[in-house]
Subunit: 337 residues, 2 copies
């Protein structure tokens, strides 16, 4: 095992604190832009948007964008505007996802659609998306606009793809990785790529940072998928078993289905079709996931993608910034332990 | 009455044909871009988007953009891409509106949300919006991007504003005009303004074309508001009385409420609160709208905005293009006769 391979093993108490500390003053500026730009003459808009924006999300994507910028230079005002735009795109996605999934809870709070209904939630998502593009235009960077508009199109395609496969238990691992590569990882990749573009990096370095974001995004989603069957609502801020009750086909389910006996497969098919929603069904699901090593193998996959993310940083100089970006990967995976 | 004032009077058999004829070859190119760009590896996306895109909408906004371009120059490939982007923004808005309003019918066909459900409809709307921005980025025009991202933000604010006022029968005329100026007219204005920007017109001419679009958009919406209480589902392609049953406060209702006796006001309040949804209630509403001159005054307002639209063209050279743009205004209003 190389030194880098051991990186994701060594630190199960990994924390986001070094990353947060590194970009603390930058994030103050970004938060100010976010607060300014979610305002509107229509009071319901900042009220609804603020409900989610102030609900304690970690703002991982802006933080990664700014940390990558610090790896290769110094963030400027234009970075703060683009970081806020990225967070708006992410927030719009969450608002629309919760409508699509009929979710009632997120981060331990009632969702916007649960409080205000689908209509205002869809429209405020649209508003944030438009505001994101306004800020990107103000940045004056056509390359940043290209990367983020392209990312937004890929995200929605991944989401529609997931919606279609939601009730198909035969979805295979490759298709699933392609879905989460689109719906989750692309915005991480775009955030990191933009840092390189704004610093005028070489194409190689741009691709390396994009790879870091892409692999980290996949590791992030796979870990989330596993956690949904592991933790309780206190630690996650969302109800455990949400994916199960929504009939979401995630990697743990795909592996357990592939490896299961006929009776197991019948169980999973019924679950994904929405006919297994009792707490006792979730208990059965957890047992099947453990017995088939589906959960541990999902986390092993997450760890491998985490290693690829860390490997992607090898061309960049060692130091506190790189250490913080590596520990962010370790933290992403350590959440499941 | 001036020659221009009489313009909206003279031609109640006005047609869109001159405009359509003028931009026929341009629109072939735009339609090709639209078909190309709604494709995706996820088959549900072109299926759902195509359902609305091929449902016989007139594509007014792209046509106006191209006709305005022909008033001052010659459209190029970049215009076709921007025209397709404008139609995608409009289509995304319609998809989301039908989710917000729980609409079952549009242009005489089942809505996408009625067929595929809210989830895919919201996401495909997001996809079209992202694709629109991709095309705008490809145009390379930061000014076009600025105008359209700004328009998109204003549209959503207008829609949220309308949603909030939907059940408030005391909404006044000024507020209503501000709402439709945002939710409907801004995209017309942006379409016409972009023609000027791409041709490198003076600021004055740019503003004149934007005014033409803005006033035409308001005339268009006011006429639609009146038609909802006038025609039947054959002529409109949507159920008559939709606004009434949705409790939508439109200008006819605002005027009838203001001018009504106490009993009338009670009726309207009950209607807007959703307690008057029978066919017999709609019949009562129609009688009250006629007796208070609310319908005819709404159409008179539409005619005045139509005149302002035509006035906005006075700095441009006479000829077939200007005639077609004038007749498009007349057609917009003549739909109610």
């Amino acid at each position: 095992m190389t030194a880098i391979n051991s990186a994701t093993d060594r630190n199960q108490a990994a924390s986001l604190k070094p990353l947060m500390h590194l970009v603390a003053s930058d994030m103050q500026a970004v938060n100010q832009v976010i607060l300014d730009r979610m305002q509107s003459e229509v009071p319901l808009i900042p009220e609804l948007a603020g409900h989610l924006i102030s609900s304690g999300g970690k703002r991982m994507r802006p933080m990664l964008m700014l940390a990558c910028s610090r790896l290769i230079g110094e963030p400027r005002d234009i970075h703060y505007k683009l970081a806020a735009a990225i967070e708006f795109i992410h927030t719009a996605t969450l608002l629309h996802d919760d409508v699509v999934d009929h979710s009632d809870l997120r981060r331990g709070k009632r969702t916007a659609n649960n409080i205000w209904g689908n209509g205002p939630t869809v429209l405020v998502g649209d508003f944030l998306l438009s505001r994101a593009f306004e800020m990107m235009v103000e940045s004056g960077s056509l390359r940043a606009l290209e990367i983020l508009s392209n990312a937004a199109a890929i995200i929605t395609q991944g989401e529609v793809d997931q919606l279609v496969s939601q009730y198909q238990v035969e979805t295979d691992e490759a298709r699933y990785l392609s879905i989460i590569g689109a719906k989750t990882a692309v915005l991480f990749a775009a955030s990191c790529r933009i840092a390189a573009v704004m610093a005028g990096c070489s194409k190689d370095k741009e691709q390396s940072l994009a790879d870091y974001g892409q692999y980290l995004g996949i590791a992030f989603q796979l870990t989330d998928d596993a956690i949904d069957y592991m933790s309780d609502s206190q630690t996650m801020g969302k109800g455990v078993g949400d994916d199960f009750r929504d009939g979401k086909v995630t990697l743990p389910v795909i592996l357990a289905y592939q490896r299961g006996e006929k009776a197991d497969r019948d169980f999973w098919r019924e679950a994904i079709e929405g006919r297994r929603v009792a707490d006792s069904d979730l208990d059965i699901a957890k047992i099947l996931l453990v017995n088939t090593d589906a959960l541990s193998d999902t986390l092993e996959r997450a760890r491998l993608y985490g290693e690829k993310a860390i490997q992607s940083l090898k061309a960049f100089p060692d130091g506190a910034v790189k250490e913080a970006l590596i520990e962010a990967v370790e933290f992403t995976i350590a959440r499941a332990y």
